[in-house]
Amino acid sequence: MRLLICAMLGALAAAAADAPAGTGFSAFQKNVNAYLKVHQEQEKKVPALKPGATAKDINDHKSAFGKALRSARADAKQGDIFGTSAPAFQALLARELKGPENSSLRKAVKDENPAKKLAGPIEIHINETYPSSLPLSTMPPALLAGLPRIPLDLEYRVMGRVLILHDRDADMIVDFLPEATPKL
């Protein structure tokens, strides 16, 4: 019986290999894997973008891939991916960004934070294209190292205090977590 329990615990640990153990990110990782499946399925439906592409190729691909993803995720809503892991993200970001000892991390996240470029409040919508007029926030190495690892097709970015998940190739916001960071 003891051997069986040990084996099960080992299997669970292996399944959640990308989620820091015991930190509440398992739901998030599960949702990311589910999103990745949709991403890969839709990606197969559009001609692949290859090195050597023209500007037209790039724009056509983003448009087609974005359209396919939006269609496949027509019912997607905020929180579908962050899910019940939202408090874990908020706790992690509070630990990483609060306090005088973290001032340089805060500065890095604030630098060219796209919220600064907006005249009014941030408005983010699921499945929308990342606004081309806004810069992407810079994600410092130490912060990325502490966040749950995600596939390279997805990126974490910050807009104001909102943590977004950005589909890199479709240039699309696939989920977001409001008030994710402490006040910067």
Partner: protein
């Protein structure tokens, strides 16, 4: 008729005078590696075009084969017209002459630029290339430097032997800029690798001016972020500034011959705002 011919000649002469004459300070050796550095360029506005024209004028006498492009390659959009007006047209003469651009991503850049034929990123956000035996370049994505990139970078550095090691990325580990300043978090991540594996020179942008930093633990840093954008009076000179210039747009020309790297920074007016030589330590005998 004579008056018209005289008038046209006068106008042509004035136009010729208006374009700065190249004043090359580099040795221009036959077999050296020659390249340009441009950064924060993608505005599509007149200064970018003027820098492009000046770079082409220098190219006629100093035939650099490529330029590194340190990010913020396109501002304000990524539609076809943005690529055309903010890159293909300003540098048309250079591109027609076969000059390649190797780009790094800036915070204003869509990561899909990595597929763009003229940025030679081969579909990668970070990559390395070796334009000549003995010289290796590492293009980094400083906007998103996750553990995977750092692992890749360390492996590439470890495999690069005794080559000149030149890294470039958008954010500056060292900067005297009042707007942004040093990217301390980036420095913490990459400087140990620079030191461990002997990176010689780092080119960056992000600040909209030119700055040469005094060698930091043996590594030379340059900021060339004024090839389209410009933020005047933004340098707060401090103990690590070797040379700063924030009054006009600029670009750099660089030449590597043996253990020496020669550089020259040229303003849009034609003024040579900086030049010099970096000598790397001689290779130890085996």
């Amino acid at each position: 008729m004579t008056f018209r011919i005289a008038s046209f000649s006068l106008i042509a002469a004035l136009l010729l005078l208006a374009q700065p004459k190249p004043d090359l300070k580099l040795p221009n050796e036959k077999d050296s590696l020659k390249f340009a550095v441009l950064g924060d360029a993608g505005t599509g506005e007149k200064p970018q075009y003027q820098i492009g024209e000046l770079a082409e004028a220098y190219h006629q006498m100093f035939p650099f084969t490529f330029s590194i492009y340190v990010g913020d390659n396109l501002y304000g959009g990524e539609a076809e017209r943005d690529f055309k007006n903010k890159f293909e047209l300003p540098y048309k003469a250079l591109l027609d002459d076969g000059v390649k651009f190797y780009a790094a991503l800036g915070n204003h850049d869509d990561p899909n630029q990595r597929f763009y034929k003229n940025f030679n990123m081969n579909g990668k956000r970070y990559y390395s290339f070796k334009p000549k035996n003995g010289v290796r370049f590492f293009a980094l994505d400083s906007t998103y430097m996750g553990p995977e990139q750092l692992e890749w970078f360390e492996k590439e550095l470890a495999d690069s032997g005794s080559d000149w090691k030149i890294a470039f990325c958008h954010h500056p580990p060292y900067s005297s800029g009042e707007k942004h300043g040093s990217s301390l978090e980036l420095r913490r991540a990459v400087e140990p690798l620079f030191l461990k594996y002997g990176v010689n020179v780092v080119f960056t942008g992000h600040e909209h001016f030119y700055e040469r930093i005094k060698p930091q633990k043996g590594v030379y840093y340059f900021i060339e972020g004024a090839s389209g954008k410009l933020r005047k009076d933004n340098i707060a000179v401090n103990e690590w500034t070797a040379k700063g210039y924030d009054q006009d747009n600029t670009f750099m020309l660089v030449e590597i011959a043996g253990d020496k790297l020669y550089f020259q920074t040229i303003a849009r007016s034609g003024e040579i705002v900086d030049s010099g030589t970096i000598e790397r330590p001689a290779k130890k005998a085996d």
